[in-house]
């Protein structure tokens, strides 16, 4: 049975050794497991969120979402954006600097679909993970795109216009920066929705600088030029305010049906008082949260669930603004 005298001893030794190894391997596996628990990592991962702006309610909400996610994932978060929403150069500099400072992932919202691409590609070439939110950039380096389905949001805006007023609709469009991808997508969705309807006449499309003042000024000029305009569509938070103020100044809340984008306390107030008739509300908190969470997963080797994650949009009108669903999306919980 035991051909060699020492076979038995060897076998026992082997058995013990195998058990020991198994033990070590098991223990080793245990330490690997740490990454599942979100706050176990010894060193904090660094993620930068480079936004189009940091002042609007939209971006503030993105910030609170991203900061909630960075707390949950135990990451260090840098949140920054240019002062002006047209300033792609500053954004590019911010990307470069973030890469220099050792940020491992960038959650990015592009001012300029084309002109931000190079900086993003350069960052990706250095191994930085890129997650796009809100507004896309023309780069293959983006691992995951999170945001509103802008085309669809445009369609929703179109529906809101069509269900607004009876009779012929003379529509003025106040859009922002032409090179910004999301605004153009929304406009396209809007056009595609309303062009089938013969009541709709698109009077003019203007592109304004994305500030309340410029939007207001341009809207007033537009209304002066075309007094018969009875419907205005606008596609972001600042232009919405500008349009709202312009309508308020003209005291044309009753006459002009305004479909605006995004929400803040002022535009919600305008919705209540009638200058604005519908708000297409996005879910910026979810964008920020999912953006950072996705970046975290990418850094830990988990690929994004999907290449595109669409966050919800809701059309809020005076009638439904205090419904549970709308309240939750419209008003931030502090």
């Amino acid at each position: 049975m035991w051909r060699n005298k020492s076979n038995m001893i060897r076998l026992t030794a082997l058995l013990s050794a195998v058990l020991l190894l198994a033990g070590c391997a098991y223990a080793g596996q245990g330490t690997d497991k740490g990454k599942d628990g979100m706050s176990n990592a010894g060193k904090k991962r660094k993620v930068a969120l480079i936004a189009k702006s940091t002042t609007s309610a939209f971006w503030k909400s993105v910030y609170s979402g991203s900061s909630a996610a960075s707390t949950a994932c135990n990451m260090e978060l840098l949140f920054e954006g240019p002062e002006k929403e047209e300033d792609y150069e500053t954004q590019n500099k911010m990307i470069e600097q973030a890469v220099r400072e050792g940020y491992e992932a960038i959650v990015f919202s592009a001012v300029d679909y084309k002109k931000n691409a190079e900086a993003i590609n350069a960052a990706a070439a250095k191994g930085v993970k890129i997650v796009g939110i809100d507004s896309d950039v023309d780069s293959n380096a983006v691992s995951c795109r999170i945001g509103t389905d802008n085309y669809n949001a445009g369609c929703v805006a179109g529906q809101a216009v069509l269900s607004g007023k009876e009779g012929i609709l003379y529509v003025g469009i106040v859009n922002f920066e032409k090179r910004s991808e999301n605004g153009q997508e929304r406009e396209r969705g809007f056009f595609d929705t309303v062009k089938k309807d013969e009541h709709v006449h698109i009077v003019e499309t203007i592109n304004v600088i994305s500030t309340t003042e410029d939007a207001k000024k341009e809207t007033l000029r537009l209304l002066d030029r075309y007094p018969h305009i009875n419907t205005i569509v606008t596609f972001n938070e600042w232009t919405s305010l500008g349009v709202g103020y312009a309508v308020r100044e003209k005291r044309a809340g009753e006459k002009i049906h305004v479909v605006a984008f995004d929400s803040n306390v002022v535009s919600v107030g305008m919705l209540e008082t009638g200058e604005v008739d519908a708000l297409i509300v996005q879910n910026p908190y979810a964008m920020g949260y999912l953006g950072v969470e996705t970046a975290y997963n990418l850094l830990n080797g988990t690929p994004a669930r999907k290449e595109r994650i669409d966050t919800e949009t809701l059309c809020v009108t005076r009638e439904n603004m205090y419904d549970d669903e709308c309240q939750k999306l419209l008003f931030a919980f502090e």
Binding site: M8, G37, Y289
Partner: protein, 578 residues
């Protein structure tokens, strides 16, 4: 039967130490595995109880605080009740002060029984002139609440009365009777800031948390409220939770009801981190400790067994050596445990005793032989004596006095040397004389049928040899070789040195012997004749000088026989020593 034998076969091949080591290790492994699984099970159960208790405790703590807060609000409500009937000036002053002190109260509103807003105290916030909707008013508040003291609390909503300010609040409503007698509904809108303080910091384990829901499962306050509002998180089981503790595969829910309202505190903790990870940690530790213990057991086992088995092995080896070489074996005592020492001592004792016994037996044998030999030597071949005496008588009769005298002299010398005062070894010179006397006598008797010749080196004469060595060989030559011969026989005796030895040869040209006869002469006891046989000569030489020495016979039929005797050089001095 066969199997038993087979077992016995393999068990023979295993050393004690191996059995010991393997048995120890196996026992330790078995014990470890059994105790491991039992321990892990017990530990898991204990941890589970522990976790349930701790989450219950956490929830009860939150429940108590929230209850306290609600009670507090109830107190506020009572104070409002006391003041609401007073003059408007006092009433306003009181309520504005209250709002200033209690930062968690956003607004206090009153409604008539139709639901019309009567008054609104807002603590400085601008109230909308035309509000779209007033979420703070709840038409469902029953009027009986005034009596029961039960607070009616709405689900969370935004404060919809203020310009540009939309905080999330819950509204606590109660009907109360004003001094005038009519009923008013008082609504207090409270922010979550205080409630959040009670709930947010409560952690159960690493990721566990508490939240507040109403009895329908609607979330009132959750530490991650915004996440839930954004649709990123949901409390899946909220609607089916009941008071008490519930557990599913991943999550433990502890639910406690808050007094005086329909709120429930829910504590959520994760089985994975609370139980599994703890158990895993213990398992990890054990998985390191147990192999270490097994390894230690193995090492200790082999060490102990070595302590025991190495001396045992040495003993075995010593026994083997002793078996091979009983005489020359020298035993070195083996150190080891008490048992080993005992065995070693016994073995040593036994070795010495056996060696002594063996030596004793040998000595006894030698002395026995010597006695035998002496007895033999003492014997006189009577026939030889009679025949010789007959021959002498016959010589006297024929008046061959000279011959008779020579014969008598020879006979006398023969006997004298034969006896040699009882010494076994005599000088070779004497032995030669003895042989010569014998040959002389026989030559007379055989009427000169043979001739003989001595070739003795002078150097040899002084060495000693066994007495009566040559005579039996010459006798054999005469009787077996020459007696039956027709022609003249010849006997040649030679003695010479060969290195350290002396060699005697006795040659005849007689009929010779077959190989079988040669062997017979050398190895068979002579029983037919009296006197000393050739075997006896050989035996004596071997006993005295060892196996190296002794006789050899070369013989060819019809040619003759040559007997060669070899013995060491023995001088008088070392003979005396011997």
């Amino acid at each position: 039967m066969r199997k038993q034998k087979y077992n016995a076969e393999w068990i023979k091949r295993i050393a004690m130490s191996e059995i010991f080591t393997v048995a120890t290790t196996l026992i330790v492994i078995l014990a470890s595995v059994v105790s491991f699984s039992i321990f892990v099970r017990i530990y898991r159960n204990a941890t589970e109880e522990d976790v349930v208790t701790s989450s219950e405790q956490a929830v009860v703590q939150v429940r108590n605080m929230v209850s306290g807060y609600i009670k507090d609000m109830s107190g506020v409500m009572d104070m409002i009740h006391e003041n609401i009937g007073k003059k408007e000036r006092y009433q306003d002053e009181f309520l504005e002060n209250l709002l200033e002190v209690r930062t968690d109260i956003i607004a206090i509103t009153t409604y008539d029984s139709e639901g019309r807003l009567l008054d609104c105290w807002s603590g400085g916030y601008e109230v909308k002139k035309n509000y779209l909707k007033n979420l703070s008013y709840d038409s469902k508040v029953p009027k009986e609440t005034a009596a029961a003291g039960q607070l009616y609390i709405t689900k969370p909503h935004v404060e919809s009365l203020f310009v540009d300010y939309y905080p999330w609040v819950v509204t606590i409503s109660q009907y109360m009777q004003r001094a005038g007698g009519e009923y008013v509904q008082v609504a207090i809108d409270i922010k979550f800031s205080n409630i959040a303080r009670y709930v947010d910091d409560v952690g159960i384990g690493q990721h566990g948390y508490c939240y507040i829901m109403n009895h329908k499962g609607g979330i009132v306050y959750h530490p991650q409220q915004q996440l839930i509002y954004s649709g990123l998180k949901e409390e899946r089981y909220a609607t089916i939770l009941k008071e008490g503790t519930q557990m599913n595969q991943e999550t433990i829910y502890a639910v406690e009801k808050v007094e005086n309202c329909d709120w429930l505190i829910v504590g959520v903790s994760y089985v994975d981190e609370m139980i599994t990870s703890r158990v895993e940690k213990v398992v990890h530790t054990l998985m390191i400790i147990i192999p270490a213990v097994i390894l230690a057991a193995f090492l200790a086992g082999s060490m102990f067994s070595r302590i025991f088995s190495r001396p045992a092995k040495r003993l075995t080896k010593a026994m083997g050596e002793f078996e091979k070489n009983t005489d020359g074996f020298q035993f070195h005592p083996i150190t080891g445990t008490k048992e080993i020492a005992t065995i070693s001592d016994s073995f040593e004792h036994m070795v010495l005793q056996i060696q002594r016994l063996v030596e004793q037996v040998r000595q006894e044998e030698i002395s026995l032989r010597k006695t035998e030999l002496k007895a033999l030597q003492a014997q006189i071949n009577p026939h030889f004596l009679y025949n010789t005496l007959d021959a002498i008588a016959w010589m006297c009769e024929e008046e061959r006095n000279q011959d008779a005298e020579e014969m008598v002299n020879a006979l006398a010398k023969l006997f004298r040397i034969s006896i040699s005062k009882g010494y076994e070894l005599i000088p070779i010179e004497k032995e030669v004389e003895h042989a010569a006397s014998y040959l002389k006598i026989q030559n007379y008797r055989y009427k000169n049928q043979f001739t003989y010749q001595f070739d003795v080196e002078d150097e040899c004469l002084l060495y000693y040899c066994n007495k009566i060595t040559l005579q039996p060989i010459i006798e054999n030559a005469i009787y077996h070789g020459l007696d039956r011969m027709v022609e003249e026989g010849k006997i040649r005796i030679a003695i010479f040195e060969d290195g350290e030895d002396i060699v005697f040869t006795v040659e005849d040209n007689g009929v010779g012997m077959t190989e079988e006869e040669c062997r017979e002469i050398l190895y068979r006891e002579t029983s037919d004749r009296v006197g000393i046989g050739i075997k006896n000569v050989n035996d004596r030489i071997k006993i005295y000088f060892g196996e190296k020495y002794g006789l050899s016979i070369k013989s060819e039929l019809d040619e003759g026989t040559k007997v060669i005797i070899r013995m060491p050089k023995v001088t008088e001095r070392n003979y005396v020593e011997k």
